[in-house]
C-alpha cells in the first residue's frame, strides 16, 4: 500500500510566518544548548547511558511519559479518535495506566536494585547471555524501525505544513536529534523530553479549546458525532463489545481486556527498554518506582488533547480518511490550520516537531545503550576501558540515526502509523512480557526456558500476523489482529517456557538473589531518602489512585 505519500493533502499548508519560525528557532537553540551543557557533565559511560542515576522522580516520570509521546500519541491517537471515536481511550485507561502502575510497584524494584544497565542485561542475569542477545537484537531492530516511523511522521508534518521536501525534513530533524543525543546522551534526551511535554501541551490545549468552541462545546460535539459516519457507537468505549461487531474498534471486550489491556500494554510498558531506561536513570529506588506512576496521571488526561481533537476533526472535515480526502493522521494539523493564528501556531508546530524528535531520541538512546552494553560489550569486546564504551555509544548513536533515516522510508508503506506500531509491539513485547512474568515469579524457570520461550513466542507473533495478512486467520481489523497476535505470542511463550523448564536444570538460588520474587538480596544497601516516607511518595498509594481514577473516567463513556 504505497499510497501514503501521494495522499499528503496538497491543500494543507499552514500559514506560518516569521513569528512562528522564531518560536521554532528559540526552541531548537535551547535544545542544542542543553546538549552542549550536558556534554560538560558527561564523563563516564554511566553518565551517558543512564544520566549517572541522579534524576528526581518528577523529571524521570515526565520523560517516561514523553518517551512515548511521539508520533504514536499525537497524530496516531487523534487519527484513532477520528476512526474509532471515544473507544480510543482504551489505549490510555486500560492499555497504559494499569501496566505503568504494575511496572512501578512490582517490577521496577527488580530492575533498579539489581543495578542492571538495561532490560536485556536483566535477562542475562536472570537467564543467560543467549537470551540477552536475542532480546537485544530484536529490541535494537525495533528501535530503529520505530525511530524511522517517528522520522517519517515528522517529515510528513514538516512537508505538509511548512512545505519542506520530505528528504530535507528527514535529514534536518535527524541531524538535530543526532546532535543532542551524541553530545549529552540520556541526560539531554530526558531534558528535551520534559521540556517537550510542556510545549506540546501549550500547543494542543488551544487547538482543543478552540475546536470545542467551534463545534458548540461538549454537547454540540456529541450531537455532531451522532450524526457523523461513526454515529452513536463513536461516543462509547464499552458498548457493543459483547459481540465484537457493533463497535467501531471491531473488537470483543475479551480482546480489549486481555489483548490490549494485559498482553500488549504490559508487554510494552513494563519491558520496553526505551521506557524502562527512564526509571533506571532515577536517583534511588523510590524515585525509580515513582517514575511510571507519576507518568500515569498525565497519561489519564492526555486523551483530552488527542481524542477530543480527533472527534472535532471527524465532524468538521467530512472527507477525512476517505480515498480522495486527507488521511486520518492529518486530524490535528487540519485543526491547527483552521483555528490557530500566527504565534500560537508556532508553539503548536514547535510542540509537534519536538514531540517527534523526543520520540526518536528515546528510541535512539535506548538503541545505543543496548547496542553498546548488551551486544558489543557482552558478546563482542569485553573488558575495554569505560572510555571505549562511551565513544562506542556515541558512534552507535550516529549509526542509529543513519539507519533510522533509512527505515523512515519503510514506514511510508503503511496506512496508519498506529497500526504499524501496534503490530511491532505485539511482535517484540508480548512474548518478552510472558518470559519476564514467569521468570520473576517462578524461581524454577531455567536459563534455556528463557531463551526458547522468547524465541518461539516472537516467531509465533510473526506467524500469526503473516497468517492474518495472507487471509488464513480472520481477525477483522488490523487492530484486532494485533490484540490476538499478542495473545497468541504470549501463550506460546508461556507454554514453551514451562515445558523447557521441566526438561532442564534450574539455576542455583544464589545466582537468582535480587532477580526473582521472594529471593531478596540482603547485601544491597538501602537507598531510601529522607523525604521518601511521605504518603505522597508512596508508590503503592499513588499507583492505586491512578488505577481508580482511570476506572472512574470510563463512567461517562460506557
Amino acid at each position: 500500500m504505497p499510497t501514503h505519500l501521494s495522499l499528503a493533502a496538497p491543500d494543507l499548508r499552514l500559514d506560518v510566518n516569521l513569528l512562528d519560525y522564531a518560536v521554532l528557532a528559540i526552541y531548537f537553540i535551547t535544545v542544542l544548548g542543553i546538549g552542549f551543557a550536558a556534554r560538560r557533565a558527561v564523563r563516564t559511560s554511566l553518565d551517558f547511558f543512564l544520566s549517572g542515576r541522579s534524576l528526581p522522580a518528577w523529571i524521570t516520570g515526565l520523560a517516561f511519559l514523553s518517551a512515548n509521546l511521539g508520533a504514536t500519541e499525537i497524530l496516531g491517537m487523534a487519527a484513532n479518535g477520528v476512526q474509532y471515536g471515544v473507544a480510543t481511550v482504551h489505549y490510555y485507561w486500560i492499555g497504559a495506566v494499569p501496566a505503568m502502575v504494575f511496572l512501578g510497584i512490582v517490577m521496577m524494584p527488580f530492575y533498579y536494585r539489581s543495578k542492571v544497565h538495561s532490560v536485556p542485561d536483566f535477562l542475562r542475569r536472570r537467564f543467560n547471555g543467549q537470551t540477552q542477545l536475542l532480546n537485544a537484537i530484536t529490541f535494537a531492530v525495533a528501535q530503529i524501525l520505530i525511530a524511522g516511523i517517528n522520522l517519517y511522521a515528522l517529515a510528513l508534518v514538516m512537508g505538509a505544513l511548512l512545505g519542506w521536501p520530505l528528504l530535507l525534513s528527514i535529514v534536518v530533524s535527524a541531524a538535530i536529534v543526532l546532535a543532542y543525543v551524541v553530545l549529552g546522551g540520556l541526560s539531554s534526551a530526558i531534558y528535551n523530553e520534559v521540556m517537550q511535554f510542556f510545549v506540546i501541551l501549550a500547543g494542543l490545549i488551544p487547538v482543543t479549546v478552540l475546536g470545542l468552541i467551534k463545534v458548540g462545546g461538549f454537547s454540540g460535539l456529541a450531537d455532531k458525532v451522532r450524526r457523523s459516519a461513526l454515529g452513536d457507537p463513536g461516543l462509547h468505549a464499552w458498548a457493543g463489545t459483547g459481540s465484537g461487531a457493533t463497535n467501531p474498534l471491531g473488537a470483543h471486550w475479551i480482546g480489549i481486556v486481555l489483548g490490549l489491556g494485559f498482553v500488549l500494554s504490559f508487554g510494552y510498558w513494563t519491558t520496553n527498554f526505551a521506557e524502562v531506561q527512564r526509571g533506571l536513570s532515577a536517583r534511588n529506588t523510590t524515585a525509580a518506582r515513582l517514575t511510571p506512576i507519576i507518568a500515569a496521571y498525565p497519561k489519564l488526561v492526555i486523551p483530552a488533547v488527542t481524542v477530543i481533537p480527533g472527534l472535532v476533526a471527524l465532524v468538521l472535515f467530512s472527507d477525512l480518511g476517505k480515498p480522495d480526502g486527507p488521511q486520518y493522521n492529518y486530524a490535528i494539523p487540519l485543526l491547527m490550520e483552521n483555528l490557530l493564528p500566527n504565534g500560537v501556531l508556532g508553539i503548536a508546530v514547535t510542540g509537534l516537531l519536538a514531540s517527534f524528535m523526543a520520540g526518536m531520541a528515546a528510541n535512539i538512546s535506548g538503541f545505543n545503550t543496548v547496542f553498546t552494553y548488551d551486544i558489543w560489550r557482552s558478546h563482542v569486546k569485553k573488558d575495554k576501558p569505560d572510555e571505549y564504551y562511551l565513544k562506542l555509544g556515541r558512534l552507535a548513536t550516529v549509526a542509529g540515526v543513519v539507519l533510522g533515516v533509512g527505515t523512515a522510508l519503510i514506514a511510508a508503506g503503511f496506512s496508519n502509523i498506529m497500526n504499524y506500531l501496534q503490530t511491532l509491539f505485539s511482535f517484540f513485547n508480548a512474548p518478552l512480557f510472558a518470559t519476564f512474568i514467569i521468570g520473576l515469579f517462578w524461581k524454577r524457570m531455567t536459563a534455556w526456558a528463557g531463551f526458547w520461550g522468547l524465541l518461539t513466542g516472537t516467531v509465533a507473533a510473526f506467524a500469526s500476523y503473516i497468517a492474518f495478512k495472507a487471509g488464513l486467520l480472520n481477525f477483522g481489523t488490523e487492530l484486532n489482529a494485533s490484540f490476538w497476535g499478542a495473545g497468541i505470542a504470549f501463550v506460546v511463550d508461556a507454554l514453551v517456557s514451562v515445558v523447557v523448564t521441566l526438561m532442564t536444570a534450574p539455576k542455583p538460588e544464589r545466582e537468582l538473589r535480587g532477580l526473582v520474587y521472594g529471593l531478596s538480596d540482603a547485601s544491597l544497601a538501602d537507598d531510601t531518602l529522607a523525604g521518601d516516607r511521605a504518603w505522597y511518595r508512596s508508590p503503592v498509594l499513588l499507583g492505586a489512585g491512578a488505577i481508580i481514577l482511570g476506572a472512574a473516567l470510563y463512567i461517562p463513556f460506557i
Partner: protein, 121 residues
Amino acid sequence: MHDPANASGPADATRATDPADPAGAGDTGDRERAARLFDIRRIIGGLFLLYGVILTVVGLLDGAAAVQKAEGVRINLWTGVAMIVVGAVFLAWERLRPVDAPGAPAEDTTTLDTEETARHA
C-alpha cells in the same frame, strides 16, 4: 574495567565502577554548578516566560483576522498569559527548592535507618 589513563580523576572513578552511589556524592563542584545552571526548571521557566511574553504582545496586537480565525478568542493573549504563569511557577519552584536539582540534593541524601525502610524495599 576502569581505564587508569582516564583523566577524569578519582571521584569519577568511584562513580564509574560503583553504581551503588545513586545520589552522586562523588560529584565535583564543577559538575554541580553545571547542574544548577542547567536545572531543567530554570530552562522550562525561562523558555515559557519568553514564549509567554512574545505571545502576549502578539495577542494584544492581533488584528481582526487573527481573532476571527480563532473563533473570536484572543488565543495568543490567553495562551501567552498562561505560559507566563507556568514559567513563573517553574522559576519560583527552582528558587524555593534549589537543592532538588539533579546534582547532590542536600536534604534528600540522608539515608534512613534500615529497620525503618525495610518495608519500602
